[in-house]
């Protein structure tokens, strides 16, 4: 294994640069180093001005998502040694389709607003008093939504979704998967409220089922599956609203 590896990192300073450009850095290549370790090495030892987000470095916080060689990756889970054989440097860029604020940091307000719009929390028609205890759930009921609950809001799925790139009004994969996480929770009674947001054209119907969101998801959430399943639910509900009298819905 060679002793060093080259990184080409996209740099952008809003004060001085008209557009971003790549800067090359050579970092030690260690077997147990991930791309994030390399970035931290650069920041600590080579160039303190390099700006990027990270926190837990263990695939939980979802802050270190970036494009590595054109693919959306959690940089804390992407080993440098996987790229050691390539002659070309490893290209690190900010997450695709988001506005770049500085270097590798993107603006995430749009995602945060969309995530909130689907009300990703338990909604009850009527809250029962605390004295009556918890809302109980069987392992089977948990199993129905557990996969979708693994989402860490890293936004890799947005960077993989050409629909979001072409039309940023689209609500996007993670927001729908998280809406499904609560819709399918036996303790939740808010599916109807979420439908107003989800069943719009820019909601689930914006999705053309490219399926790349599922491929890049580091937590195996399968947002593409969540969206297609919800399309079926929304269609059934729409037919019901046509066919059934008001009271029977």
């Amino acid at each position: 294994m060679p002793e060093t590896i080259s990184l080409e990192v996209l740099r952008y300073s809003p004060e001085t640069d008209a557009e971003p450009s790549f800067q090359r850095y050579d970092v030690p290549l260690r077997k147990d180093w991930v791309v994030l370790d390399a970035l931290n090495y650069i920041k600590d030892k080579v160039d303190g001005s390099l700006t990027f987000r990270w926190s837990c470095r263990m695939g939980i916080c979802g802050s270190c998502g970036m494009m590595v060689n054109g693919e959306p990756k959690l940089t804390c889970a992407t080993f440098l040694s996987n790229y050691a054989r390539d002659a070309a440097p490893v290209r690190v860029q900010p997450l695709r389709y988001f506005p770049v604020i500085r270097d590798l940091v993107v603006e995430v307000t749009d995602f945060m607003t969309k995530l909130q719009s689907v009300k990703p929390w338990l909604i009850r028609g009527e809250e029962k008093p605390t004295s009556e205890g918890e809302y109980l759930q069987t392992p089977d009921q948990l199993d129905r939504y557990k996969q979708f609950s693994m989402c860490i809001n890293c936004m890799l799925c947005y960077a993989a979704c050409p629909v979001y790139g072409l039309d940023p009004v689209f609500i996007g994969p993670a927001a729908i998967a998280l809406a499904q996480r609560y819709n399918m929770d036996s303790r939740d009674e808010g599916a109807h409220e979420r439908m107003d947001v989800l069943a719009q054209h820019e909601g689930i119907w914006g999705c053309t089922f490219v399926g790349e969101c599922t491929q890049v998801c580091p937590k195996h959430v399968d947002p593409a599956g969540a969206i297609q399943q919800y399309k079926l639910t929304a269609t059934i509900e729409r037919f019901k609203s046509f066919l059934l009298p008001r009271g029977a819905k």
Binding site: Y12, P14, E15, D17, E19, P20, G70, Y97, P99, V100, I101, R102, E107, T109, D110, T113, K114, S117, D140, D143, R144, P162, G165, L166, P168, V169, F170, I171, D196, V197, Q200, E202, G203, T208, F209, V210, G211, E212, T214, Q215, D222, A224, G225, Q228, Q229, K231, L232
Partner: protein, 141 residues
């Protein structure tokens, strides 16, 4: 009721930022994207087969002469090539669509989710079965 219309919202007071445009050729950058676009385009060819079928039914209803003319038209090399390409796209459409079926269909049986392979397998099995029935109708005299 609160406004539920979706929009794009960014933070109001931000420094100058950089946005790149999505290339018109984004679908050529990765094989999964290209596969997706081919699957979408295949709908045009599926529609062409529907047109051919409708023309066939019309010729059939107009009697043996019209049907013979239709068959002759089918032998035109241009039509033959077009139909060959169409067949490729229809098969491509069917295979890619069946492979996607498990993520759209979360079937549960006795509290457990039915494995993806089962759903894909059931789709392909149904396809083969229907094809066999059709073939049986076509070859029996």
């Amino acid at each position: 009721m609160s406004d539920t219309r979706l929009s794009t919202r960014y933070t109001e007071y931000h420094p100058r930022w950089y946005r790149s445009r999505v290339s018109t050729w984004w679908w050529l950058t990765r094989w999964p994207y290209l596969k997706f676009i081919l699957r979408e385009i295949s709908s045009v060819f599926v529609a062409w087969f529907v047109v051919v079928l409708l023309l066939q039914i019309r010729a059939l209803s107009r009697g043996p002469d019209a049907y013979a003319r239709f068959q002759h038209w089918l032998q035109n090399p241009l039509v033959l090539w077009l139909n060959l390409i169409t067949l490729f796209f229809v098969v491509f459409h069917a295979i890619t669509w069946f492979n996607l079926a498990p993520s759209a269909m979360a079937v549960r049986f006795r509290g457990k989710r039915v494995p993806d392979l089962f759903i894909v397998g059931a789709n392909f099995a149904a396809w083969v079965a229907v094809s066999l029935v059709v073939a049986w109708f076509l070859v029996r005299r």
